[in-house]
């Protein structure tokens, strides 16, 4: 119990939860303010999960580095539990907010996007470290957002984040990314950043 508590403290779970709460509050307030405008709800369905996912991505950084790797016990289980908990809380809170929106199945789209973008953030955290892991989902969302920019009627398959919630392949994309990201972080951890920019 104490081990779990200390692990969560080391991962700044308190500030992470505060940020997730903030993201949920902004989502709720924004959706209420725009009065179910479908254009803006579409923006919210992509952007607020992006914020939640990147916050969770940043929290996978370890402050202890190699010392934790050599002396830590049950690290994969602890990492998995920590991230799964944050995902459940972040995704669940957004799903509650998204119920009853004019955007069809807005709650499901929010959950899918949190999951997939968090997976992307975890994979990026493995490569560039937790602190800068937000850059991958941010870049991906920009690409997906403008994937139909040239007037194409159909979005490319990889732009799952902007697909409607009912689009089944997009759920698989998100689930696969999440699984890959969770596995990478659970077993290998986020990259330590001994470089100059950290």
């Amino acid at each position: 119990m104490r081990l779990g508590y200390l692990f969560l403290r080391s991962r700044m779970t308190g500030p992470s939860l505060a940020c997730l709460l903030g993201v949920t509050a902004v989502t709720w307030q924004w959706a209420w303010w725009v009065k179910q405008d479908p254009g803006i709800l579409f923006l919210i369905v992509v952007m607020t999960p992006l914020a939640a996912a990147t916050v969770i991505g940043v929290s996978c950084r370890s402050p202890f580095g190699e010392a934790e790797r050599t002396a830590g016990r049950w690290l994969p289980a602890l990492r998995l539990g920590h991230l799964a908990g944050l995902l459940l809380l972040g995704g669940g809170a957004l799903a509650v907010v998204g119920r009853g929106w004019a955007e069809p199945d807005g709650d499901l789209a929010l959950v899918r996007n949190v999951a997939g973008l968090a997976g992307l953030a975890f994979l990026a955290a493995r490569v560039v470290g937790g602190g800068l892991s937000w850059i991958a989902p941010l870049g991906y969302v920009v690409l997906a957002f403008f994937a139909g920019g040239a007037g194409e009627n159909e979005l490319p398959r990889w732009a799952w984040v902007v697909q409607p919630a009912a689009h089944e392949p997009s759920r698989y994309w998100a689930a696969e990314l999440l699984a890959a990201g969770l596995l990478a972080i659970a077993f290998a951890g986020a990259r330590e950043s001994p470089d100059a920019v950290e």
Partner: protein, 448 residues
Amino acid sequence: MSVRLLTIEARRNVGLWFFPVILLISWWLLSAWGWIAFLWESTNQQLQASVVPFGAPAIAGAAAWMAGRDRRRGIQDLLATTPRHDTERLLTLWASTALWGVLAYAAFAAYMMGRTALSATWAGPELWPVVVALAAILAHAAWGFFFGSLVPSRFTVPVVAIAAMMLLQFLSGYMVATGGGGYSPTWVTYLAPDKPAYDLAPWQALIYMGLTGAGLAALALRRRWGTPGFAVLAGSSVLAVAGVIMVWGEWPRYDPAKPLAYNGWGQVIEQDSVYVEPEPVCEGSPVTVCVYPQYQPVLDEGVASANRLAAPLLGLPGMPLRAGPEDTTFTGGGSTSMLRVGDDGHLDVSRFVDKLVADSGSLREGAIVNEAQLAVRQWLVGKARLPNWAFECYEDVPEQQQYPGQPTAGMCQATARLARLSPPEQRAWLETHYRDLRAGKLSVRDLP
């Protein structure tokens, strides 16, 4: 701010890693927007729209990250004991981070404008939109740095970057309902720095220059209260607010009832000058193709297409030998490959083919509806074997889905019959029937 310190900070800066990422994503966006390298109009519009959507939020995040660096390393107290003024040190760190965003933008702008300058045949660069995007990158860096310094937490970084992106997308996608289910942009839309609007660009630039100054002044004031800081903050805020007011005021509101355009102060917006159509450029023989001068780089391709299409009809009485600008359409955009960005675009001469088989009196609302004309048109297109001209004959199209001019089975059979004839037979048939064909007096049954 010493150059040496700036160089050291720039070298040991996260912006260095963001530089290639910004270039790559901007390149991808450029391909998505369908940039046409030889058109200044395309370059002027797409420079902003390609770099800002990712570059500005990314630099905001990078600046927030760098602002928290000293705290992450636990060297704040150590640095406080050094003789250099802390505001100056922070400004150097901000400048070195913003520098990478500016460099990425400058490299991108230099490439786009350089390529256009080498290939364009008409018009020129618009410099205000270039300034708008530059000012927007600096403003994002300034406010990102301010928030990163205000709340130096790791969580501030993604929140700042994503908030910047949300705001940008919210502004640039801001539309109001116009009735009848339509939406249109308003003056709020043009507060976004990735929305090119030549008349509003100086005011957009003013907004972002003001925001840059305000962000830096706020940063300085956080360290030390003082009159100079307040003066800069007040002056910059006035600039930004003035820019917003001017965008609101100068944005044209069109009144379809008059029809006139008004500005925000109720004044009629007068046209500066009457638009003078540029003199077309003509080339080719026996069929001459004329285009507006900006399309000159694709004129050769248009001449070749028009001559291939017209070849079976050459010498027939009444056959048009000139394709004017109204008979051609430039189509471009939507690069199919990241390696061919800027190259796509060609001159579509399909309206000239219409002219070859139909005179203006036989058209209905500008379109061919006579099946014999359509059949011969398809035969000409098939014979010329032009790329991008594929058509299909649908055998069983339900009646409610049919539209005038759609290739029907009967029409396609007539095309096939004509194609099966030997060239002398085709020529003989055309010599006898070409005039009637163009006048719309034939039906598919009259085709051989």
